[in-house]
């Protein structure tokens, strides 16, 4: 499956992906999160960056 990086518009080839998974864009290095659009198709959005309360 080919998806677009929302940061640099580069093509990202993904094989098996699940919602919420983090993918790095090889072109620009952005951390992207796999999510589904209204039609149930996968898309990539910029992932949240580490917050002060992240962890265990």
């Amino acid at each position: 499956m080919k998806l677009k990086c929302p940061e640099c518009d580069g093509d990202i080839e993904v094989k098996e992906v699940i919602e919420g998974e983090i993918i790095s864009c090889k072109d620009c290095g952005a951390e992207l999160e796999a999510s589904k659009d209204k039609n149930g198709n996968f898309e990539l959005k910029v992932a949240e960056s580490e917050g002060e309360d992240w962890g265990e």
Binding site: E19, G20, E33, E48, E52, D53, W54, G55, E56
Partner: protein, 287 residues
Amino acid sequence: MCPSLSLIYDRIRTEEKELINAAEKRGIYLRSIDAKDLHLTITDPSSEGDIFGDVALERCVSYFRGLHITAILESKGVRVINRYSVASLCGNKLLSSIMLAKCGIPTPKTVVAFTTEEAMRALEEMGYPAVIKPVFGSWGRLIAPLKDRETAQAIMEHREDMGNPLYQIYYLQEMVDRPPRDIRTVVVGDEIVASIYRYSAPDDWRTNIARGGRAEVCSLNERLREMILKAASAVGGGVLGVDAMETKSGEVIHEVNSTVEFKGAMSVSEVDIPGKIVEYALNLAKK
């Protein structure tokens, strides 16, 4: 009817992926719910609870997000792993230390002050080196070794300039003389599932796997097993990561984590940790 589970996440890490796989392998319906897509009506306890199934595994990487979702779900009658009371205790180092000490579990000496001046006085009494930790926080974030008075003063000044008032709660702990490792144990209910040594990364003093620490299987002695199970039960039980350090006078427990990361343990242990967690959730759902 077969019980159903949900997994509430805000980021799918290895752990969440493995939990989803473990449920799938067992033919259990587990609904993955992105916490970032939720809005919940807190004034109507009878609504919205159904989508979370019989038991929800709260696995948010953002502590406060997960904690507040747990509170809401419990108000709607959903059983959550871990319970709000457990997550709120474990997420606050000060409350955890109080509870560990109250239950007679050996834990590093800890003193809390509320102003820089008093924190400096406390350090003079405790002696150097010591450690300062934020009461909330994980992955070793903002934990600093205080090797001498000058370092302590500098750290305190930085703390004073940090906007969050929680940084003005000065949680000071004795620096435990330990080997460059600690012991992480995954506890599921009343069972010890896996134990690992976490070695600090070569360029860090902290042992967190998130900081590049390395895992190795650890075989627990009977005394430590008992201590760990006691610590897990002291915070209210559930699926927990109990952290211990080895000292010359025996082991001490310094932390209990409520959204346990088990990637490190999974990489060296033969035990099916996610499977154990899913089965625990399933058993809770059947009760």
